[in-house]
Structures are given as structure tokens and as C-alpha cells.
């Protein structure tokens, strides 16, 4: 009994310590000041997303539109000799990493949303992402309106919001849900469906690998990608927005869009750069 009392006392005290550690307030340094001192900005980027942030197996470096934007923003804010440091993140790790200060900003195909804005701040949009459709090049489908017909089959991924959206934008079409993008694309190739729907960014990545397909009709939802920064870092956020605006004005932004998406059929710089 005495043993038990001792153990439970220990257990309680340990939990107390954990709680205190968990609730401990933290005074965060101003990111802009530290970045200027170290001449470095730490960016959280994706490593598995074509065109935006993808690991190059040969060089061991990530590359893509997100990476180039981050690099350009870093140099605009801190000067030509500054370095952009890239930390690979996933959808799971990116917000905790930003919150605990391991990264200064996230540029990882992250749509600006009301839910996320409760946790983090967003810069102005840097890519006008939204849902779109992918079809075979010779297809007669020119936009989502053409899909809204009886007998049309649209392919999507199970449980995704894009599938739910389809019921709104093309209620007459039948939706076939597959497990992942690879399977959905295979199904489109083999003619099991007339169109495939998801984010335009992902669709562009598919077209890059499969030039017989094309993204048509532009986006019909509005879920732009933004750079996420921790709350309370307004100075840093303003600098990022300023850098983005400068890049748009001096042509760097359009050059980067063309570098990554220029040769993709169905891509329009005008649409992607919408604010």
C-alpha cells in the first residue's frame, strides 16, 4: 500500500511537470530581426509535389515553383547574399513546426482558409489555386459546364472536397471515386471516365508527365496558395507581401510562373497570378 502511494504520488508529480511544460508561455523572438542577423530564412517546403516542391533524387535538393518563390523572397528581404534554408515538411508537420519556431515560414501548396487563419497568418496569394478538370487532348470537353451532362463520368479521389464540389458544379455527371491520383489518372487513360478533377496545381503536374492530356476551362473554385507565417509577426509578413509585390512589378514572378508552368497546355499566367 505504501508502495502504491509512492508510485501514484510520483505519477501525479510527473503529470504536473508535463502540464506546466506544456502550458509554459513562450516569448517568441521577432523573426525579421533574427533573419536579418543570420541572413537566413528557414522555409518549410514540400518534397513530394510535382512542380511546386519535389526532391531531385540526383542532387538531393528540392526544386519547384514554391522553392524559387521562397528563394526570391529571401533575397528581396535580406539582400543578394542571403540564403533560403529549406526544411522538408508534410501537411502534418508544417503548422507545429512553424508554431515551435523550427521554420520561419511555410510555402508548401497551402491554401488560404478560414480554419487555418485561426492558427497562422497568410501572405497575399502567390498562386491562384482552385479546382479544375483534366481531359484527353482530343476531348470535346472545354470546361466544367461541358461535363454537366447525363452519361458523363468524372473521376476523383475518395473523400476529397473536390468530389463533393463536383456534385455542386456538375450535378448531372456521375462521379467515380478512386483511391489516389495515380489510380484516377490510370482510369482516365484507359477511358473509364471523361474527365478527372482536383486542384489545378496537381493536374498541371500530371500533364507535365503525360502530354496527351490537358487542363481545360480554368478553375471553378477559389483556394489560392499563400505563405504562412506565425501570428504576431506582422513586420515579417509585411516584408513578404512587399517582396511579392515587387516580384510581380519587376517581372520576376511571371518569369518563375513561365519557368515551371509555361510549357503546360491549358496553363495561363494571367489566371495563376490572380490575387
Amino acid at each position: 500500500m505504501k508502495q502504491f502511494k509512492k508510485i501514484s504520488l510520483l505519477f501525479m508529480s510527473l503529470i504536473m511537470v508535463l502540464v506546466i511544460a506544456g502550458c509554459g508561455s513562450k516569448n517568441k523572438a521577432d523573426i525579421l530581426t533574427t533573419a536579418k542577423e543570420t541572413k537566413t530564412i528557414n522555409w518549410g517546403v514540400k518534397a513530394d509535389t510535382k512542380l511546386f516542391g519535389l526532391m531531385n533524387i540526383k542532387t538531393g535538393k528540392t526544386q519547384g515553383f514554391d522553392i524559387d518563390i521562397a528563394d526570391a523572397v529571401t533575397k528581396k528581404i535580406l539582400g543578394k547574399d542571403a540564403t533560403a534554408n529549406f526544411v522538408q515538411v508534410t501537411s502534418k508537420t508544417r503548422i507545429p513546426l512553424l508554431k515551435n519556431g523550427n521554420i520561419d515560414a511555410i510555402i508548401a501548396t497551402m491554401s488560404i482558409s478560414k480554419d487555418r487563419e485561426k492558427q497562422v497568418d497568410f501572405s497575399n496569394p502567390y498562386f491562384a489555386a482552385g479546382q479544375s478538370i483534366l481531359v484527353k487532348k482530343e476531348s470535346s470537353i472545354k470546361s466544367v459546364k461541358d461535363v454537366n451532362k447525363d452519361g458523363m463520368i468524372v473521376l476523383g479521389v475518395k473523400g476529397s472536397t473536390s468530389v463533393i464540389n463536383m456534385k455542386k458544379y456538375a450535378p448531372k455527371a456521375e462521379v467515380l471515386e478512386l483511391d489516389d491520383y495515380a489510380q484516377a489518372l490510370t482510369a482516365l487513360k484507359s477511358g473509364q471516365g471523361d474527365a478527372l478533377t482536383t486542384d489545378n496545381g496537381i493536374l498541371y503536374g500530371m500533364v507535365k508527365e503525360n502530354p496527351d492530356f490537358s487542363v481545360v476551362g480554368g478553375t471553378f473554385t477559389h483556394e489560392p496558395y499563400g505563405i504562412a507565417i506565425d501570428k504576431g509577426q506582422d513586420k515579417f509578413k509585411n516584408q513578404i507581401n512587399k517582396a511579392l509585390a515587387e516580384m510581380r512589378a519587376d517581372g520576376t514572378y511571371e518569369k518563375l510562373l513561365n519557368k515551371w508552368f509555361g510549357d503546360i497546355p491549358g496553363f495561363s499566367v494571367k489566371e495563376a497570378s490572380q490575387q
Binding site: K6, I7, L10, F11, L14, A21, G22, G24, K26, A47, D48, K50, L54, M55, I57, K58, G60, V87, Q88, V89, T90, K92, T93, P96, N100, G101, N102, A182
Partner: protein, 218 residues
């Protein structure tokens, strides 16, 4: 078949080997630190310092009874909360070290306890102090008994580093996932490569353990 040939291009294999190197680096650094910490903790438990041994014992039990994945999360997400910021590599290494220290402490303690108590009594009767008896008589014998479980714990550690793929440690499994993520035809070749690489490293270690066991048994 052609998938296999394309998947095993030099670039991909090199990328996997880079991952394997990180796996081994994290494992080796952790096992060295955990052995030192584990030895201290194990001895503390064995020699029964008032209160301290009970507390150490309880903390060890706590860590041993949690999933390693959770300890990884605590270290990775938690330390920064109290102002300590570590890179992904050192976070993973620290998490492994915390977990392995607790595991090794138990192995070391039970190794010492397995040495016949008469040995210590004999040492004391021959005029050695408690510490001398421990160092000269008990520990060398205990070490012999510990080697097989220590090596098998090292093998577990190498396997367990694969969990750190969740915090994007660039180790073997994460690298393989990136390769097959870029081309779904490479899925099976990559899993075969993973199995072979882990197996070769771990099995070689278990052979070493068996060899040592046989030599020490003489």
C-alpha cells in the same frame, strides 16, 4: 522486370544508400549515448540509493511503456515549447537515445543482477571494497551476459529509426518513399530494396552477436 532495372538506377540506389547512412548515423550515435546513460541509470537502480533509485526506476518504466513514436513527438514538437530548438537529425537522435537509455538500463541492471550474489560476497571477504568488487568481479561477468541482449536492442534501434520518417528525417524509408512517390512503377522494387538493405545490416549484426556469444561462452 524493366521496372526493376529502371528503379535500380545508380542515382536511385545512391539516394537510398544516403538514407541508409543517416539511419546508421542516428543509430550509432544513439546507441553510444544510450549505453553510457543506460549504464548510469542501470547502476543507480542496482545499488539502491534511497529515493533516487525508486524515481529512476519509475521514469525508466514510464519511458519503456510508451510507444517510441510518441517519444519522438514529445522531443520534436515539445522541446521547442520550452525554448530548446533542435534540428530534425538531432531531435531524432535524442528521442532514440531517451528511449534506448531506458531499455538499456533494464538490460544492464538485470545483467548485473544475474551475477551470482556469492561473487560479491567472496570479493568482500577477500578484502575488496564494494566498488572494487563491483568493478573487478561483478561487472566483467555481467557484461558477458549483456552482450546478446545489447546487440538485439541495437538491431531494434536500427529498425526503429524508420519511425522518424514521420518527422521527415531523411533516412532510408523516407528516401524510398520519395522515390516511389515519383513513379508508382517503382513501388515493388523499392520495397524489395528496403527489405534487402535493412535485412543485410540487421542480420549481419545478429551474426556478430551469435559469434560473440559463442566466444564468450567458452
Amino acid at each position: 522486370m524493366s521496372d526493376f532495372i529502371a528503379a535500380y538506377s545508380w542515382e536511385n540506389i545512391r539516394y537510398l544508400l544516403q538514407g541508409l547512412l543517416v539511419t546508421i548515423e542516428v543509430s550509432v550515435i544513439s546507441i553510444i549515448f544510450s549505453f553510457i546513460i543506460g549504464a548510469i541509470l542501470g547502476l543507480t537502480r542496482y545499488i539502491k540509493v534511497k529515493r533516487l533509485s525508486a524515481i529512476v526506476g519509475f521514469v525508466i518504466d514510464l519511458i519503456r511503456n510508451l510507444p517510441l513514436l510518441l517519444i519522438l513527438f514529445f522531443v520534436y514538437f515539445g522541446l521547442a515549447n520550452v525554448g530548446i530548438r533542435l534540428s530534425i537529425f538531432w531531435s531524432a537522435t535524442l528521442a532514440m537515445t531517451v528511449f534506448e537509455s531506458a531499455m538499456l538500463a533494464e538490460i544492464i541492471r538485470s545483467g548485473i543482477q544475474a551475477v551470482e550474489p556469492g561473487q560479491m560476497e567472496g570479493a568482500r571477504a577477500n578484502g575488496l571494497t564494494y566498488w572494487q568488487g563491483l568493478r573487478v568481479i561483478v561487472l566483467p561477468q555481467a557484461l558477458k551476459k549483456m552482450i546478446p541482449p545489447l546487440v538485439s536492442q541495437f538491431i531494434s534501434l536500427i529498425k526503429d529509426t524508420s519511425l522518424a520518417t514521420i518527422i521527415v528525417l531523411p533516412e532510408l524509408l523516407y528516401h524510398a518513399q520519395l522515390v516511389y512517390g515519383q513513379n508508382t512503377n517503382y513501388v515493388i522494387p523499392m520495397f524489395v530494396a528496403l527489405a534487402v538493405m535493412y535485412f543485410v545490416v540487421c542480420y549481419a549484426l545478429s551474426l556478430v552477436s551469435r559469434y560473440l556469444e559463442r566466444r564468450l561462452a567458452r
